[in-house]
Point group: C2
Chain length 322, copies 2
């Protein structure tokens, strides 16, 4: 592989001149520039990135850290991140939990986007204190050096609930997720707030406790159907549970949406229900990835201070509601 020295020798100039041409400096004569450029093409010269990085102290590479390979929506996030980074000519490396510590410290990357629950806040703050540019997804860190990109649970659930009310639904059941998780709290509170504003009754009887799993949705659906506690609509804290509820209702011959409507939250493809069936707040995965990357790039390139971005999940209407 030809290096800059070879080019310089062949062109009868110094490496500096070659370097200047390569980096677009103005202080090079036109014919010298041309000669060097054509020589580079002829000799198939490509600058050695390692050397360039070593010199500049930067790598022009960002890392995306995640751990759950089961959820296909990660691919969409990766897609968004990749597109943005590529537009800015920044390389992307992917790593999982086990690799993060080594990568983060040895100057292999200039920044990272972290979406990996197995990495705790402490580790992230540690990395941030070493001047690593960081963006976390799906969590918020109380640090002025770490940006975050999260779903706007409140606004999204608010809109979903509002529109359900507008459609005429009055008797609501709510199937919550794991208690104390921010997702649960925010979605549930937003839901209750809208009902309250509309003076629609909501009692503890109307609340069911789930754990985000399809199973817990089935359980809750069974209980509702068997107990005869069938509302106009069951609002679920995520799609999985909504799928479970639908499944349970099917067993009991409870027509969805004629007898009871069902809504979810997430908007990812599921094997349980056909695409487009479930009314839900669809988290825009690609866009969130893109925005996370964009945020990171601005921090890396322009020294932008850390910021927090909440992304609203648009409501998608399916056949599970009228």
């Amino acid at each position: 592989m030809a290096n800059i020295k070879d080019i310089a020798k062949a062109a009868n100039v110094s490496v500096t001149t070659v370097s200047n041409v390569l980096n677009g400096k103005a202080n090079v004569g036109p014919e010298t520039r041309e000669k060097i450029l054509s020589l580079c093409r002829e000799m198939d010269y490509h600058p050695n990135i390692m050397a360039r990085n070593l010199k500049s102290g930067k790598t022009n590479t960002a890392m995306f850290c995640f751990s759950d390979f089961e959820r296909s929506f990660y691919l969409k996030i990766i897609n968004g991140i990749n597109d943005c980074l590529h537009e800015h000519h920044i390389g992307m490396i992917i790593c999982t939990h086990s690799a993060i510590n080594s990568f983060l410290r040895n100057g292999f990357v200039d920044g990272a986007i972290v979406l990996d629950k197995s990495i705790n806040d402490r580790q992230i703050l540690d990395a941030a204190s070493q001047d690593m540019n960081l963006v976390v997804m799906d969590r918020i860190l109380d640090s002025p050096k770490v940006s975050s990109v999260v779903t706007d649970n409140r606004a999204s659930m608010e809109e979903l609930t509002k529109r359900l009310v507008q459609k005429g639904y009055r008797r609501f059941n709510y199937l919550g997720g794991i208690e104390n998780t921010p997702d649960h709290v925010e979605r549930y509170e937003a839901f209750k707030a809208v009902l309250k504003t509309n003076r629609i009754a909501f009692t503890p009887d109307n609340y069911y406790q789930g754990d985000y799993s399809v199973q817990s949705g089935i359980r809750a659906g069974n209980i509702m159907a068997m107990g005869g506690n069938l509302p106009d609509v069951v609002v679920c804290a995520n799609d999985n549970m909504a799928a479970g509820v639908v499944q349970a209702f099917r067993e009991f011959d409870v027509d969805v949406p004629k007898r009871v409507a069902v809504s979810g939250f997430d908007g990812d493809h599921m094997s349980e229900l056909p695409d487009g069936y479930l009314t839900t707040a669809a988290i825009p995965r690609y866009e969130m990835g893109y925005l996370a990357a964009e945020t990171l790039v601005k921090m890396m390139n322009e020294g932008m201070p850390a910021m927090e971005r909440k992304i609203k999940a648009p409501v998608v209407w399916g056949r599970s509601t009228r």
Copy 2:
């Protein structure tokens, strides 16, 4: 960030000694070694990978190149690749078509796994001629320097068909994919060979032409049902088309599998059919990723010559067959 010089100074030794300790050389006194090691911990020293790479001429990083972010099974492949590379302490970077040329030439990676149809054979052979270690997936290159990992279409379709015959199916329809694609040719030929061996009749009437899409499956299914040409089983060249056939049959109240059984090929999750419904040859995505990575690592580390690996897709029985 502390560097090797800082450590050497603090330990009152030369950088050479520190380097030797870090790289596990034997020629260092035990107490000196301990002192240096503890100093590294104290000062939170991490070797600068860029410098190390520049020096060694290697990057210890591999690249996975793909382009289709819509297909969720890519995540499984990535998972397999990642696991293998990580076991060997090799970093992984992901890139898409647009980035490959720059990455491949400037010494940013030591090798690459390519699963991107928008990259043509020529580009790959070019890279190989520059001593880049390469593994291609889902295609075979006629080059002694490029390894390949592909699905063993013949063996898989053979087994699937054999087992269908064993189960008593005698009247077969076949729904083929796009003509001249290796996948189509290999699967179709294997299918026909098994029927022939078993002296089971198969005429052009029993062949339907599809294009791998769900739509083309629906069309074929409609034609079969409307024409009254219903066999015991429809063997499809992929899952998508099988899903289409099932859907068409449902419209015509043709019971699957009681009246007609249906089989597919691929084994990826689909939104059209519930998981576990379709009998199919399930391509082991994770394993193929892992094997591709393993092959690459051996080429990189042990100079293993290029090789070709065919991976059999195990038959998975679902409810679409008896």
